[in-house]
Symmetry: C2
Subunit: 423 residues, 2 copies
């Protein structure tokens, strides 16, 4: 058996580093489990084999250079030649592949991946990023606010466009399709796009603000490209992709060909990210998405209907926005990451938000955030437009350092929202 | 709040049915959790909204028609109009999307999906299937046996081809690339394919048997299609795809364009499938893959280095091979499924297998199986060719109803394998 643990080892500047949380099965030693993880994710197998040469193993073997059996966190450095460096699927098949199924583990969680410059060079990252999106919208500093058309599915294309119009007219910047609305019989993609973009134009004319529609193009790869082109033909500057249900191979294809801003929804992430001892962290998924080049990605809300602590969500937000991430040490999971030419990606908070959340969420997530309100917009007692107004009012109150209850005294829409949902 | 639980409801013949295992957070009622899962996976949200009409909710609302708070298994029927029926990403974004992240759950596992005829009609299923592959190989009844070239990565293209040749010459039907070998600098795809297929031809000539090489084409979508075409130009009848790290959108694209047999590797599945209370079952993943149209898929070994009980693995195997699945009731997870025109898919057992496993595995998995031996071939004391011989000998012994130890008395390769790894 080869020995991969070497805590004196310092990773080379072009090595990929993966950080795992390891839970061995009862009766299996921690170090034994680490050795097997390193083997299975690189050059090894479960027995000695005749086809392995000492030269080969010496050159390509992984190094488990950090082992902490208290936190159960380990770090492994992998030689770049082990990978196809511009293929997210291949990188995942190596360091997030078979190892999750190994009998000698009861749990394994990929907490983070460090990408060396050699990997960054192979990817373009976001085409627009935060600065590009703010320029497109003519909004310099305030958080962007949006809605998801509700009900999730069921409205006709015309009804969908009308709900979107009400939201824009009320003051929201963004209207997004729901993650499971793509091309349904009662609301086809072909019908929805021109109708919704036409009302976007009207809302822009009427409000004097730039308005954004994010149509969900998620489908088989070529169909996604056709849908993005169709959106462009009708003047749409944005597309949305369910990146995990569509998958990484298709996302790379979309990034290569689609000229629009790419909004990444993370539907299904909870199946991978929820268990703190197993699966793949949202931090890892978000980093892969920034690397490939989505411009916006859902990271959680801290305060809404979806799980995710403030520490986790803000750690992911920094990883999306910053140019340099310092190693988080024992407090967090993040590895050192210099992002180089890869632009910052806008973090999106979405899931059960209402206007009463604004004063709690913005101090945690900052103003470089896109906040999406679904039920918390259309559920307003006076309807979508009033809901949109209430959201903008809540943001204005926060930016003006006024308590929401105080601001609500002179802003009826916010008042009614706070009465329904609390502050 | 809408009411979705209706245990008197009988699903319509064109409805999609999903079976979940539900674990509410402490303090949350089981039925309340079920209501929210049904809502979030279809037309609902977390609050009352102005844009929902009674007609719409009546027509499209889901029905939780089976609720068992002992096993925590529930079944939900969804109206087909909720979906884009030919898009696996859209179907997953609906019934395997946000619901995994809901705060009021501590765990949620998608156990199975029932596809009505209306969905089956939108997919082609396997192009070859079990019968097509047996015809291609001229092997009527015995299990197919293969190897994965080892070490996983590190050999040059020429060394890779040579190891493959030894395996074929020793008697294996199949040689497969490892899941993390695609296009590495020391072993490029361009170099490996012609070299390996050339030695496949030689092995065919020398043995008089058909031999198969399964090159791993996993990459960005268009690159996968280019690689499949390259394989075809060099006479390769097979391609292999890491279906989960590549993703469903790209797999649908590959199925549409690639004329070869498609071998589906499941690297990363353990991140989704391992936890019995959360994520997505391997049964569900395998069914989606058969629906899209892979011809072969890894399902586990029962006996090797990867987890998976005999009951789970055989349930999946039946789902891959049979034309009709009867509901499993309380004993299993499988829903009723009539597969119609969707051909049977070959089940693949792989992961830590050696010749001593054959007599234990085949009685469980039957002979309609592809058994892949990695370390259990190349780890043979006398090398790859001897390992391949030992594997064929173990299968011959089983088919001739001779105990392996007895057969080994006159078959040296098997004898040495059993001495190294046990029987």
């Amino acid at each position: 058996m080869l020995e991969y643990i070497d805590t004196g080892y310092r990773p080379g500047t072009d090595e990929i580093v993966a950080k795992y949380r390891v839970t061995p099965q009862r009766g299996i030693g921690f170090r034994q489990a680490c050795e097997q993880i390193a083997a299975e994710s690189s050059i090894g197998t479960w027995t000695t084999i005749s086809t392995m040469s000492p030269e080969l193993s010496e050159r390509l073997k992984p190094h488990v250079f950090s082992v902490d059996d208290q936190s159960r966190l380990i770090e492994i450095a992998y030689h770049p030649d082990l990978f196809e460096l511009d293929s997210i699927p291949e990188i995942l098949s190596s360091i997030a592949g078979n190892i999750f199924g190994m009998k000698l583990l009861s749990g394994l969680r990929l907490e983070d991946i460090h990408f060396p410059k050699r990997v960054l060079r192979r990817f373009e990252g976001p085409r627009y990023g935060i600065a590009g999106i703010r320029k497109l919208l003519h909004v310099k500093e305030r958080p962007l606010v949006g809605t998801i058309v509700k009900p999730k599915v069921g409205l006709s294309a015309s009804q969908h466009a009308q709900v979107a119009y009400e939201a824009w007219a009320g003051g929201l910047d963004i209207v997004k399709d729901d993650e499971n609305l793509t091309n349904q019989p009662f609301n086809t993609f072909k019908d929805r796009i021109p109708k919704t973009l036409e009302l976007r134009d009207r809302a822009q004319d009427e409000t004097g603000e730039r308005k954004i529609y994010m149509p969900n193009i998620t489908a088989e790869t070529e169909e996604m490209l056709r849908r993005a082109e169709y959106v462009q033909q009708h003047g749409g500057e944005y597309v949305m992709v369910d990146i995990l249900t569509a998958g990484w191979a298709a996302l790379q294809t979309v990034r290569k060909h689609v000229p629009q801003v790419i909004h990444a929804h993370r539907a299904m992430h909870g199946a991978l990210t929820r268990n703190k001892d197993h699966g793949i962290s949202m931090l890892t998924i978000a980093k892969l998405a920034r690397l490939v080049g989505v411009d916006q990605i859902h990271i959680g809300t801290v305060v809404g209907k979806m799980e995710g602590t403030a520490a986790e969500v803000t750690e992911i937000e920094h990883e999306m926005e910053d140019a340099l991430i310092q190693p988080a040490g024992k407090k967090g999971h993040a590895l050192e990451q210099e992002w180089g030419h890869i632009k910052p990606c806008f973090a999106v908070a979405s899931g059960g938000l209402h206007p009463g959340h604004v004063h709690k969420m913005l101090p945690i997530l900052g103003t470089n955030i896109i906040a999406q309100f679904g039920g918390g917009c259309h559920g307003h007692p006076d309807g979508t437009r009033a809901g949109a107004k209430a959201i903008r009012q809540a943001v204005d109150a926060y930016l003006n350092r006024v308590r929401p209850e105080t601001y609500a005294e002179t802003h009826m829409e916010l008042k009614k929202a706070l009465m329904k949902w609390g502050a």
